[in-house]
Amino acid sequence: MTFSRRNFLKAGFLSSAVFLMDGCSLFGVTTPIKTFAILHHDLFPYAQELGIDTALYMQRVFHHSRISEADKTFLKNGVKWLNEEALSQYKKEYTKLSLAQREALLLHVSKTEWGESFVYDVMNYMFEAMLGDPVYGGNNKEAGWQWLNFQGGQPRPQKAYM
């Protein structure tokens, strides 16, 4: 694949800054990968206990040829809205909140229409990372499968479908 500017921009998204506005003034800066990492930990800390890094998998999600731009945009917006909600309630971005504050915030946003869809989508990709074939980079040594007494099916993919 040729290294185009478009690909460069896509590759950079997860670690690029998301500017958070409070009304009309710049209030904070975060990166999506930081938010996803904390969010995944909050939603399913057991994945980390199993040695599975699910946040890195988001890189594949944002690169995937078969995930629509609309779905990717929604995820990006969700990161922004979650942080803006954190700012408006606690004057801090999501990653800087305490565990109890994050839990309360998640409870709050999961009752909103966008928030429910966002949390569901985040969990969807998080469990793909945890329980998909290890070739996708998550599911460390099949730890996710072993936890649920699941064997996977043969033959196994030799490479990730992107």
């Binding site: 793909e128 074939d133 064997q151």
Partner: protein, 551 residues
């Protein structure tokens, strides 16, 4: 010029390629998708079932869907925006690679619904121009050539058969199947082993089933599943051209002269043949004919009747489930229940016809199977609590572990007739085009209320079985949602050229050398999955074409 050009390599096209190539004719098959071998059929849940690796991206190829509403209007959905996909498997062998292979034959009365059950208001039910007896030898042939395993058990709706039993023994089943059989017996129902298009042992130059635990939706890595690719195309010398999307057939007033196709890169090619066979799956077949209009056929090729695209049908019915929980089982039963890989393979056809309030109804089939093993999907079904709130953290962890390791879901699928109506049909959209620049198909959807009543009747019988089995959380849904993989009609066959597209041999009334060999020919669909009937009819049409070519 070749003898035969076949458009589409699935269950409709592959028997014709197999028969004619093996009879020494020069056959070309044009397939839009790619070729895959058994080595490619991995059990990658993400790639196969969540990223749809075997179907075209909706951003490149889609349908426009108009859903009929109770107030008489249609609601329009753009396939790309709504994510509503009607693609089933763009690949050599088509969606037969991905089928579960639940093989039931149609029954004699399915060929004469109008004569037997009479007119139903608002539905275009007609008798078929052929009888069960004419198709039976071809069902038999499919059993032997494609390979069907199972065991024939006599029951009140068993159709007449020329071979006493199926040629391959039953696949292995889970221990819970015995509980099911006992339960059905107690209820007075006749549980039958589900015939499967899966070889239970090495045969026909293919390997037997290796119980991968991932059958439906996935390609088969041993060749046991009787896909058009494994069973037929790889056993003949027909030339298969992949990456060939046929967008137009050219004709004069009597004959099709050329099939034009595009490659992915938009390069245009064409094929000349003595005989053309269209088998692109029902919706795309009608779309191709409608997009091939010319000065002789201004309303679409082979469409002097105006019937092309009309009377599109799916399979009516729905599905349901119940959960076996460890608390109600002995340790031995728990162990049996959790044995994966082996099949459930049970069906009920007790109500293929039934009487209710002195009225005779055409009923259908209920297949029972374990919930699909896709683990990501199973987990995502658990993320809400009983009040509809999202769960996470420790609560979710406990729930997931308990549900996935100490219980198992048995599901059922109801198949009954989707009645043909004026409101369910295929058209083309003159404005919306696919990546090739070709007008996309428009799917107009309507389910007749009669279908729901029959589906409901059947689902309630299935629920009784689950209740008696001691299952928990029993639920079901009967709806007019169309299963995209169970589609037929659009080019119905018949004896009258004014009211049908194809003659009884599936040759277009209007043209001397155009045949349609997928499920498009079916004026009514019966109450079983379609694949076996598509295969059988295609073998029948192959015999007709063979005679024609032999002069």
């Amino acid at each position: 010029m070749v003898d035969v050009c076949i458009i589409g390599s699935g269950a409709g096209g592959s028997p014709i390629a197999y028969e004619l190539a093996n009879a020494g004719f020069d056959v070309v098959v044009l397939e839009k998708g790619a070729n895959y071998t058994e080595d490619d059929f991995t059990k990658d849940e993400i790639g196969v079932t969540r990223r749809d690796m075997f179907t075209p991206p909706l951003s490149e190829q889609k349908h426009i869907i108009n859903e009929y509403q109770a107030d008489g209007t249609f609601t329009r959905y753009d396939g790309e925006e709504s994510g509503w996909s009607f693609w089933n498997g763009s690949m050599v062998g088509g969606s037969s690679n991905l089928m579960s292979g639940y093989f039931h034959r149609l029954k004699p009365n399915d060929f004469k619904l109008k004569s037997v059950y009479g007119v139903i208001k608002g539905a275009n039910v007609v008798d078929w121009p052929i009888s069960y007896e004419e198709l039976e030898p071809y069902y038999d042939k499919v059993e032997k050539v494609v390979g069907v395993s199972g065991k024939i058990v006599k029951h009140k709706h068993l159709e007449p058969r020329s071979s006493e039993d199926l040629p391959y023994p039953e696949l292995q089943t889970n221990g819970a199947v015995q509980w099911f059989d006992r339960t059905c017996k107690a209820l007075g129902y006749e549980a039958i082993p589900t015939p499967r298009a899966i070889l239970s042992q090495n045969a026909l130059g293919r390997n037997g089933c290796y119980y991968s635990n991932f059958c439906g939706s996935y390609g088969c890595a041993s060749g046991a599943k009787g896909s058009g690719r494994a069973a037929l195309l790889q056993k003949c010398s027909a030339k298969i051209i992949t990456d060939a999307f046929v967008y137009r057939l050219e004709s004069d007033d009597k004959k099709v002269t050329r099939a034009y196709y595009y490659t992915k890169k938009g390069i245009r090619h064409s094929v000349q043949a003595k005989i053309f066979v269209v088998a692109a799956q029902a919706i795309e077949t009608s779309r191709l004919l409608l997009n091939s209009k010319n000065r002789y056929f201004p309303n679409g090729l082979a469409n002097s009747s105006g019937e092309v695209g009309k009377n599109l049908i799916f399979s009516a019915g729905g599905s349901g489930s119940g959960r076996f929980v460890f608390e109600k089982l002995t340790p031995q039963q728990q162990k049996e229940l959790m044995e994966v890989g082996v099949f459930f393979n049970r069906s009920l056809q007790d109500w293929y016809a039934y009487e209710k309030e002195t009225k005779q109804y055409k009923g259908g089939t209920i297949d029972f199977l374990f919930e699909h093993q896709n683990i990501i999907s199973r987990v995502m079904r658990e993320v809400y609590d009983e009040n509809g709130n999202l769960l996470w953290g420790e609560k979710l962890k406990e729930k997931l572990h308990k549900r996935l390791t100490t219980s198992r879901v048995l599901t059922f699928e109801v198949f009954n007739d989707w009645l043909p109506t004026d409101k369910c049909f295929v058209g083309v959209d003159e404005k919306v085009k696919d990546k090739y620049g070709v007008p996309v198909g428009v799917i107009n959807l309507y389910g007749h209320p009669h279908d729901l009543a029959v589906g409901e009747h059947l689902a309630q019988k299935a629920v009784k079985v689950l209740e008696k089995l001691g299952c928990e959380e029993i639920s079901y849904s009967i709806s007019s949602a169309p299963p995209p993989n169970l589609v037929a009609g659009g080019c119905r066959f018949g004896n009258d050229a004014k009211t049908s597209v194809l003659d009884k041999n599936c040759k277009a009334h209007d043209l001397q050398n155009l045949y349609v060999a997928d499920a498009s020919f079916m004026p009514t669909g019966g109450s079983v999955p379609y694949t076996w009937s598509i295969y059988a009819n295609s073998f029948r049409v192959a015999d007709v074409i063979k005679k024609e070519l032999q002069g």
